[in-house]
């Protein structure tokens, strides 16, 4: 791991956290408001995901055909192509937890800067759930 790579990781993490904060995705109420389609629906998350995917869908077209990334010798991409019960059930369980708490992992990390208990409790429970799955897998 070179210092150049570490610097790029820091810069991209900073932009990611700033993006989550500007888009108000670290506000649990907005996220739950988006999932509440039959209530007072808050469409903000559509614009966040749309803006983000609108960028990656274009830039990844140019990046992925490269032989290697600028600062490494290879790309580290998921290899699995299987659409199986594990993928779907895992995503469904994640969605239930997301709906219950209003947090997904990214916003939970960034909202730690608000210094209240909620994201800390969420992340500790996240770690518990992640290791619980790992231990039975």
């Amino acid at each position: 791991m070179t210092s150049k790579q570490n610097l790029m990781a820091l810069i991209s993490g900073l932009l990611f956290g700033l993006g989550l904060a500007i888009s108000q995705m670290i506000d649990r109420e907005r996220v739950i408001g988006f999932l509440d389609v039959t209530g007072n629906w808050d469409a903000t998350l559509i614009f966040v995901l749309g803006g983000a995917v609108g960028i990656t869908i274009i830039t990844f077209r140019f990046i992925l055909p490269l032989k290697n990334p600028f600062f490494d010798t290879k790309f580290y991409l998921p290899t699995s192509k299987d659409i199986d019960i594990r993928l779907i059930l895992g995503a469904v369980i994640f969605g239930i937890g997301w709906g219950i708490s209003g947090y997904c992992p990214g916003p939970a990390v960034t909202s730690l800067v608000q210094f209240n208990l909620s994201p800390i409790v969420f992340i500790l429970a996240f770690i518990g759930g992640s290791f619980a799955y790992k231990s039975i897998d």
Binding site: S12, I57, F71, P105
Partner: protein, 139 residues
Amino acid sequence: MVIESSWINGLIGGILIGVSATILLAFNGRIAGISGMINGVLEFSSGGSWRILFLGGMLMGGFIYEYLLPLPNTPSGDFNLFLLILGGFLVGFGTRMGNGCTSGHGVCGLGRLSVRSLTAVVSFLASGMITVFIMKHIY
């Protein structure tokens, strides 16, 4: 039905997230998947310092927004502890089982045109919406 949205903020924030994922892939060849990064840090995966720096950068980005920019602070408050623990556990369990969350499958997987990620995104959006419907309108 009232549609409420601060779409400009959403779009600007979303574009920053897309640029972030672009930088990480173009320079380091890595996917910006937050659940995987947290797991990688906790397991001391080899060559993993970039994960700590990315997560640290996320805190810096949040800090800059909340305390340095002249923008309204994000509302926060403490929330039902039981629901946080249950929700967090299910998010940790489900993202490990399904290999990703909103960032890895959503922002990056859709950007790679991965059918696997599209399947995951549709599944967690649907289950999240059904969960909120049950919690807000049935119970």
